[in-house]
Structures are given as structure tokens and as C-alpha cells.
Amino acid sequence: MEPEVVISLRGIRTQFGDNVVHDNLDLDVFRGEVLGVVGGSGTGKSVLLRTIIGLIRPRSGSVTMFGIDALNTSEQERAMIDRRTGVMFQDGALFSSLTVRENIEVPLHAIAGLTPELRRALADLKISMSGLEWVAGDQYPSELSGGMRKRAGLARALALDPEVVFLDEPTAGLDPIGASAFDTLIKGLSQQMGLTVFLVTHDLDTLHATCDRIAVLAEKRVLVAGTMEEMLKVDHPWVHAYFHGPRARAAVMVKDRND
């Protein structure tokens, strides 16, 4: 059976002034997969993420999400798309004036019929599922470490049980132990909840540990997309350097040892 396409980009062109970031970019994301997006600095990985979630409007091209044309849609449909997706920004982007629990309750306020007790219980559940102690729920974002903020950001992104989550550099700035715990968390959640995960990363260990498919951004488009094995065979100089560099070899060694 052909896997269901949840997000489909066709001919995307994004431009800031004269600076063309993406030109004629195509990409498909399939249901239930973990897609890792890699690319050199300034190739527009985060711009691509922001384009898909509707924060940046491309100059031309089409974004189709869940079969809906996301660029030409009513506000209601857009709101529904937003409810079916969750986003974790780089540093969590938690609201600083709210506690972690209140942050996670923010999206829950949009659901009719939830009592405050239910919202609290669900928020506690999400805090715990994202690997935080429940006491973290009463803390403010400024009292948390970087890794805890990312987990809290993930908990908020998962608050409505979205079908797709977007993660912007989920492991950047984490220590190796914290980063690998986060990888396990993402992989586990995606399997148990049938999540589709779109993650932007620089971290080769994350790519090895969690991603089903990898998309490489270069030359203003998605140069190649495929599994790790396919990436290793690509001849393009940047892709070759990326997946065959000293760090990549170390990541493969770790992966082999773990398998």
C-alpha cells in the first residue's frame, strides 16, 4: 500500500528581498514517518519549517496539508490544520509569564467541554510523557534548564495530540546524554502515538537514532530525500562530506554498537 502523504510541497519559492532561499522546492512527508531535514547553515531549514506551518508565505508554489491547500484556505480550515499540527521551537518558545503547566493548558483552552481539572490532568500527563518530573509543572520557564525547556516545549506541542509535530533543532544545545534521551523520547512517541515527525537538525546522532527518512536541503531545494542507506550512496560533494565526515563515522559507530 502506498503510504499516505500528509504534507506535500510543490514548486516552493521563498524569497526575502533579493535573497532567494528556496527555488522550485518539492517535498513529501508521509504519515507516521520521522523525517529529518538537514542542510548547511543558511540553507533555509528553519525557513522551510516556517513555510509549512504557515508563518512565512512563499512567493509561489503550493503547500498541501492533510489534503487541504494550506495557502488558499479559509481561516477556519487553517485553524483546523493548526490544531492537527504541533510545533516545538528551538528554545521551547514557552510563554515566560506562565508556568509550564499553564503553558501546556494554553492549546487545551481551545477545546470546548474541558473542565479546569481535566485540563490540569492532561497537562500533567503531557509533562510526564515528555520526560519531566511533575513538579516542573509549577515552575516558570526561566527556572528550567535548556533541556527541560525543550521537553516542556514538546509537551505543549503534543497537548492536542496532533498528527504531525514539527521540531526545530530538538537536540541543539543538549548534552550528549540529554540529547540521546530526547531522541529516544521522540522515536517512542512517534511509534506509540502514530505521530508524523518533521524535524530540523544538525545532529547526526539524532538522524541515525530517530529518522526514517532524511531530506537534504542544498542548492535552494531538496536535493535528495531517502533513507540513511540511500544518503550514504549519494555522490553530491556536500552530501558526501556530511554523511562521510569524521563526525558521521562516529555516529555510525555509535549506532552499530547500539544495534
Partner: protein, 377 residues
């Protein structure tokens, strides 16, 4: 697939005496949780078989409701089994079951009188600590100033001139406009009252004494507190936030000498000048308004001013300026050094600095009033 709004969760209870089966069907998601939880919570404790074979969609919220029902029955000593869930759903139920946090009851304790008393005590202690720290900052400032006199090479003249420009020159337009308008208001209000007694000419004394003794320097200090205390806190605080102050220390630069001395000294030099400008602008505004409103010509205003108002009023006003300057500078620098590692604390300390500086200036002014009243000047 069914979507939110159209879909709902169905609960069918088949009661069989000692036990019962609860058949769940439809969509068990966060969107249907409100109704679902209300129905499940109403079920009394009893041996229960939860049939999930016709659940179309289950998410963590739905799984939470099912697990919560199961736990409630088990806690009441009854059996509760889940039937008919497919592999994914069993997986999800397990995950959610393991994740539900155990929250001790002690969390929801009431705040007692002792807690309240403790918070009052803490607030008082932190206020006392604040005053101690502020006097500590005064000490640091004076010692560095003395050091600058002994070792003029360490003194940063360029920084001083820069801050004089920022604190003094840039504040001249707003300070003079404010004082001018205050003069206008005093003349206008004063003339309306004094006319009733036919004592219009005393409006000159009213304007002169109130502006020279009190309002000129007090309002200038308040404006400078708003402008400059916040600027000091923001500048020093953002350096503190980015560890620049730590870097200065490791490079052998004394932050107090490099940052505090030029700023506070600039305020000490500039605030009296700004106060003087405010006095002149206030008198000018008063004179113009008296001329328009009461027909007191500028020449008459001048004569009356010189005859009726002694130089002591100016001295009484101006003597406060250095004290206000010290308060504003110390509060601003102290708040800047209190900034922690994040942007929230920078914003909080900046607004704290302004409020504290204005409050302290007004308290100091009140103390001066009492002092001068006792001295009889």
C-alpha cells in the same frame, strides 16, 4: 477519518448485577473528552469490563480517561479489565498508564496564618537587605571615586563625558518643556484662587517659591529617574546577562570603576544643571501665563520676584539635587547588577529600578522638607 465536531464518543453500560460491561465506541480524543469523562466519572465502583473493540480513534486524552476509570475501579477494590483493544491501543494505554504522575496530596495545602507571617517577614528582610546593599553600593562608589582622585589614570573621562551627554544634554528638552508647563499650570490655578481675594500679584510668590523650592528639582529628578535609572539598569543589566561583567573582572577591569563611577558622577554633575534649567523654564512659563491671565507684565514679574523671593529658596531647592542624583544612580546601577541570566529579569529589574528610584526621590524630598522646616529655612 472522522474529525472533531462531527465525531463523538459513545458510552454504553450493560449492567449485570455483580459486574457490568462498559462498551466504548466512536472517537475517544481530546475533543470528546469533556463529555466522555463526565459519563465515566458518574459510574459507581463495580467489577467492570471495558470493551474497546469498537473504538474508532484513541489518543492520549482518551487513553487517559480509560486508564483513569480502570484505576478508580481498582482503587475501590474492584476488578477492571480492558478488552478488545488493538495492539496500538494497548501500547498507548500502557504508555499513558505509566506516565500518569503520582501527585502527593500535600500539594494542595491551604496557606495558613504562619505562612502569611513568614511572607511578611521575608518581605521585610528583603527590604532591609536592599537598603544594606544600596549603602554598600554607595560605599563602593565613594571608594572608587577617591581612588580616581589618587590614580587619575584609572578614571574614564571619555565615559564620563558620554554619560553627561546622555543624562544631561539629551534630557534638556523634556525637562524644560515639563517645567515650563508646570509654571503655566501654577500661574493659571493660582490666579484663579488668588483673584477671589484680589491678591493676584502674589501669584508671583506662589510660582517662584513652589518652583524654586520644590517642584523644579523634584519633577526634574522624577523625569531623570524614569529616563536614566532605567537606562542604567538596562545597560548594566544586559552586560551582566551576557556575562560581560564577569569577563571584565577576569580581564582585570574593575566594573565599579568602569561602569558605576562615570554614570553616577555624570548624574551628580548634570542633575543640578537640569534643575536650574527647570527652574528657569518654570519661571518663564509662570511669567508668560501671569501676563496673559492677570496682566502682570514681565517687568513687574521680575521686580516682584526679586523683592519677594530670597536666594535661600533657590539654595534649598538646589541642595537636594546631588542627593537625588546619588539615589537615582545607585538604584539604577544596583538594579542592573541584580539582573540574572534571562531577559525576564532584565525587564523586571528595569521597571523595579524606575519605581524604586522615583519612590526614593520622593521620600528623600519629604525628609528634606521636615529638615528645612525644623531648621526654619
Amino acid at each position: 477519518m472522522q474529525r472533531e465536531g462531527t465525531a463523538s464518543a459513545e458510552v454504553a453500560v450493560r449492567d449485570g448485577g455483580e459486574s457490568r460491561s462498559v462498551v466504548l465506541s466512536g472517537v475517544l480524543t481530546v475533543h470528546t473528552l469533556g463529555a466522555l469523562d463526565a459519563e465515566l466519572a458518574a459510574l459507581p465502583a463495580k467489577d467492570t469490563r471495558i470493551d474497546m473493540s469498537s473504538v474508532a480513534r484513541l489518543d492520549t486524552a482518551g487513553a487517559w480517561a480509560v486508564v483513569t476509570l480502570q484505576r478508580r475501579m481498582t482503587a475501590a477494590g474492584k476488578r477492571a479489565e480492558i478488552d478488545g483493544a488493538d495492539a496500538h491501543q494497548v501500547d498507548l494505554l500502557d504508555t499513558v498508564g505509566n506516565a500518569i504522575p503520582e501527585i502527593p496530596d500535600s500539594q494542595n495545602k491551604q496557606t495558613s496564618f504562619a505562612d502569611w507571617l513568614e511572607s511578611v517577614g521575608r518581605a521585610f528582610a528583603s527590604g532591609a537587605t536592599f537598603l544594606m546593599e544600596l549603602s554598600g553600593f554607595l560605599g563602593i562608589f565613594l571608594s572608587r571615586l577617591a581612588r580616581a582622585v589618587v590614580h587619575p589614570g584609572e578614571f574614564r573621562l571619555t565615559a564620563l563625558v558620554h554619560h553627561c551627554q546622555e543624562v544631561g544634554l539629551r534630557a534638556v528638552p523634556i525637562v524644560s518643556l515639563m517645567a515650563f508647563l508646570i509654571g503655566v499650570v501654577l500661574a493659571f490655578q493660582g490666579s484663579a484662587q488668588l483673584r477671589q481675594f484680589g491678591a493676584e500679584v502674589f501669584v508671583v510668590d506662589l510660582i517662584a517659591i513652589s518652583i524654586l523650592r520644590e517642584l523644579g528639582i523634584l519633577l526634574t529628578a522624577i523625569i531623570v529617574a524614569g529616563r536614566t535609572a532605567s537606562a542604567f539598569t538596562a545597560a548594566i543589566g544586559s552586560m551582566k546577562m551576557r556575562e560581560e561583567i564577569d569577563a571584565m573582572q577576569t580581564l582585570g577591569i574593575d566594573p565599579a570603576m568602569a561602569l558605576f563611577v562615570p554614570r553616577i558622577l555624570a548624574l551628580l554633575l548634570m542633575l543640578p544643571i537640569l534643575g536650574l534649567i527647570a527652574n528657569i523654564a518654570g519661571l518663564l512659563g509662570g511669567a508668560i501665563m501671569s501676563w496673559i491671565e492677570l496682566g502682570i507684565s514681565p517687568a513687574m514679574f521680575r521686580t516682584r520676584l526679586i523683592e519677594g523671593t530670597g536666594i535661600s529658596h533657590v539654595v534649598v531647592g538646589m541642595v537636594k539635587a546631588p542627593v537625588f542624583a546619588l539615589i537615582i544612580g545607585l538604584v539604577g546601577c544596583h538594579a542592573g547588577m541584580k539582573v540574572g541570566g534571562n531577559a525576564e529579569s532584565l525587564g523586571r529589574m528595569t521597571s523595579n529600578a524606575v519605581v524604586t528610584a522615583i519612590f526614593a526621590v520622593i521620600v528623600a524630598d519629604a525628609l528634606f522638607s521636615i529638615l528645612f522646616a525644623q531648621m526654619g529655612v
